[in-house]
């Protein structure tokens, strides 16, 4: 009916209006999505032109809409081939999920993305374009790259394998260590790189790992060319791609093993040297013995077990008189002070004494401060020394008797000088002692003094005993006595320069003496002492040609000639002895 037509028209018009409104609502709704969706997305037509981008895409790559729309998306891909593949796959499959790629933003920074696409077709089924949604995974990717970087550049070989021993990931060092490519290793199993190629061994290791969660062992790897490499191997269970796996870190310890072997060899050499040393060698750590060599066992009569026993008292190895010295020296060592080699008396287990010279040093032993001691048995040396001393005393006694006899011979021929040599000897010894000379030097001076006028044997007795003044010729004859005495004494092997003292006892430091007219530096000290003692005693004794002088006169004489004839130090000591009544002639 016609009547329906206007109504239908109205309905149709109303429908068109409603449809238009709905279309606008839908457009606004779509617009809202394009504007507010935080995930960047774009629509690309089949010619690769960007038809539209979401507002978030602007912030995502830093380009404005007007710069991007109408352009090809290729230019924003680091590798333009990626987009070609994405397009191809999108057309083939109708869309993609999470395809990885890298975009480059306005500042040239790489943006890692997961791309999902959805193909659009026209009503005839022809592809007309596709949506691309970009999930920015830069942060995760950088973290992954950082990890990968660390993983690849780690100094050790790192492997990740599943609990059946199939490799899942390896780093560059692992490839370098084993001589395989990464792809090759990923086709291998754990036993393929084990030096024994033993699946059972690897299985045991995996079982142990499953139980304890971690493992640390030394083992050997086998390289692609069959070389065995010693490694230090740590492993622990981790989650890898949401599955339990083993993270293993292997360190090539070839160099360390070589060094260890070299050290062992070196240690062995030194241990043999120490063990076989005839000297006793010990190491003391905080009062406890931690090492003794064979000689210690043999000489001290203790076994090593006894030495090393917890309750072993180190200081009982020393005689009571040596113990305190040993303690003091050890304490000085601990304060880093130098300690000279020291003599001790050691006591063996059976109570025998050993005279020992011990050289000690502060060392590090097993990481701790310790004292290394090297013991030299000087018992025999000490015995020899003792015997020598005894022989020396006997010889000295014999020599003294001989010297005394010789002195007597002189005095028999010259009664006025009877006792002169003994008295000179006494004064000379007193001066020498006061000057701080050694006992040996004092002995020499004493013996020289006792026979200093022995040369007078060659001077006619009537000349020696005649009262009155001597002629020059007679005086010259008298002056020969030091040389004559020297000639006699030099034929006898005295312990000291006795002949020389006799020869120089009339020399004066100004060169006015005889027989050689020596000067200060050329005259030995013993002769200078003898010269002073001789003149003092002579002045204080009666002579055929003059009466005895007093000690004051004698002192006056040597004081006047101090530093002219006589050594000043010797004169001062001599004066001091008389003034303080420290010395008197009988």
């Amino acid at each position: 009916m016609n009547t329906d037509l206007p109504g239908n028209e109205m309905r149709n018009n109303k429908n068109i209006k409603e449809l238009k409104e709905e279309l606008f609502e839908l457009k606004d709704y779509i617009n809202d999505i394009w504007q507010f969706c935080p995930m960047p997305f774009a629509y690309i037509n089949i010619f690769d032109a960007i038809i539209d981008i979401s507002d978030s895409f602007e912030g995502f790559l830093g380009y404005k809409k007007e710069e991007v729309i109408g352009n090809t998306l290729n230019k924003y891909f680091k590798n333009p081939e990626d987009l070609k593949n994405i397009k191809r796959l999108t057309i083939e499959q109708g869309g993609l999920r999470n395809e990885n790629s890298v975009l480059v933003n306005r500042t040239g920074e790489e943006i890692y993305v997961n791309i999902s696409t959805l193909l659009r077709c026209d009503e005839d089924g022809n592809s007309i374009g596709y949506f691309l949604a970009f999930n920015d995974i830069t942060r995760e990717k950088r973290a992954e790259l950082k990890f990968r970087n660390i993983f690849d550049n780690a100094g050790d070989a790192i492997y990740i394998y599943d609990l059946d021993g199939n490799f899942l990931a390896v780093n560059k060092n692992a490839c370098e260590l084993l001589g395989y490519t990464e792809k090759e290793i990923l086709r291998l199993r754990l036993e393929d790189i084990d030096a024994d190629h033993s699946p059972q061994k690897c299985q045991r290791m995996l079982e142990e790992l499953k139980k304890s969660g971690r493992l640390f062992i030394e083992s050997e790897h086998c390289t692609k060319d069959g070389k065995k490499i010693p490694i230090e191997f740590s492993a622990r269970i981790i989650q890898f791609d949401d599955k339990p796996a083993v993270l293993s870190i292997a360190r090539d310890i070839t160099q360390r093993k070589k060094a260890e072997n070299a050290l062992k060899e070196s240690e062995m050499k030194f241990r043999i040297l120490a063990e076989e040393s005839p000297n006793m060698i010990f190491i003391n750590q905080a009062g406890k013995i931690v090492y003794v060599n064979k000689s210690c066992e043999k000489m001290m009569e203790y076994t090593r077990e006894e030495f090393y026993a917890e309750d072993f008292d180190f200081y009982k190895l020393f005689s009571p008189e040596s113990r305190e010295r040993c303690r003091e020296n050890f304490e000085r060592h601990m304060k880093n002070e130098e300690v000279e080699p020291t003599e001790y008396t050691l006591l063996t287990k059976n109570g025998n004494k050993i005279e020992a010279l011990i050289t000690t040093r502060l060392i590090k032993y097993e990481g701790k401060d310790s004292i290394l001691g090297i013991v030299t048995d000087i018992s025999q040396q000490k015995r020899i020394e003792k015997n020598l001393k005894k022989s020396y005393q006997e010889l000295k006694k014999t020599t003294s008797s001989f010297v005394f006899t010789m002195a007597k011979i002189v005095e028999v021929r010259d009664p006025y000088t009877a006792g002169h040599q003994q008295r000179v000897a006494k004064l000379a010894v007193a001066i020498a002692r006061k000057l701080g000379l050694s006992e040996q030097e004092i002995d020499t001076i004493e013996m020289a003094a006792l026979i200093h006028d022995i040369g007078k044997l060659y001077v006619p007795a009537e000349l020696l005993n005649r009262p009155g003044k001597l002629t020059d010729t007679e005086m010259e004859l008298i002056k020969t006595h030091p040389r004559a005495g020297y000639d006699i004494a030099k034929t006898i092997e005295f312990p000291g320069p006795i002949a020389q003292i006799i020869l120089q006892h009339h020399e004066r430091i100004d060169g006015s003496g005889y027989p050689a007219g020596l000067q200060d530096g050329e005259i030995i000290l013993a002769a200078k002492i003898l010269a002073v003692a001789d003149v003092v005693e002579a002045m204080m004794s009666h002579r055929p040609y003059r009466p005895a002088r007093t000690s004051a006169e004698a002192i006056e004489e040597i004081s006047t000639r101090r530093a002219v004839y006589y050594e000043p130090g010797v004169v001062d000591v001599c004066i001091d002895l008389f003034r303080k009544r420290l010395f008197m002639f009988n």
Partner: protein, 198 residues
């Protein structure tokens, strides 16, 4: 600024334009001078006694073609734009046109895309006849013609950019060049544009 007599002439021009075309002007102003820039343009409209609020313009509604022209002239004068700027504005227009994008993305082939261009014109303007004279994909050549569209010379440069923007959607990887061979304001019977690309 636009003189009264010129304004009087312009408002007498017959024909309609889709709101979508006007909204792209607003987008161009906002992107370059912000919302304040757009307010200034709207004030200029108001001062001419022809108040327009861009936000109230609807994409699919028809408006007098004089609004299209006034919009361009006011923006050019207000922001002191050169002819090159006007061409750039034309290039940007398809990028923000809902209708252009809607139609252009439906093309499964380049040929179909070229065929759709007259439809795009028809969807925007009630006057002027748009024709694809020759398209040679092998020789990279396209000749289009616009008849019965003698509105204002400013539109010649604007449309040069506009057609370039349209074609960019169809051949984004090509180095496209456009040239206005004939112009009604130069005494030619129609406007004619030639596109070449490498």
């Amino acid at each position: 600024m636009l003189g009264r007599s010129e304004f009087a002439k312009i408002i007498k021009i017959e024909g309609k334009v889709r709101g979508s075309a006007l909204k792209t002007d607003a987008e161009y102003v906002k992107r370059n001078w912000g919302a304040d820039g757009l307010k200034v343009v709207e004030t200029d409209f108001k001062n001419l006694g022809y108040p327009i609020e861009y936000r109230k313009i609807k994409d699919l509604d028809w408006y007098p073609v004089c609004v299209r022209l006034l919009s361009l002239l006011i923006i050019k004068a207000r922001f002191n734009l050169s002819d090159d700027d006007i061409e750039s504005m034309g290039k940007m227009t398809p990028k923000f046109s809902f209708i252009v994008k809607f139609i252009i993305k439906m093309a499964p082939t380049l040929e179909k895309g070229i065929e759709n261009i007259p439809m795009i014109w028809g969807k925007h303007y009630s006057i002027g006849e748009f024709e694809v004279v020759e398209f040679d994909d092998k020789d990279n050549f396209l000749l289009i013609r616009l008849k019965d569209f003698k509105v204002h010379p400013i539109l010649c440069r604007y449309l040069t950019g506009y057609f370039f923007g349209l074609l960019q959607f169809l051949m984004p990887n090509e180095n496209v060049k456009i040239e206005e061979l004939r112009c009604m304001f130069k005494g030619d019977p129609y406007h004619e544009y030639r596109f070449t690309w490498k």
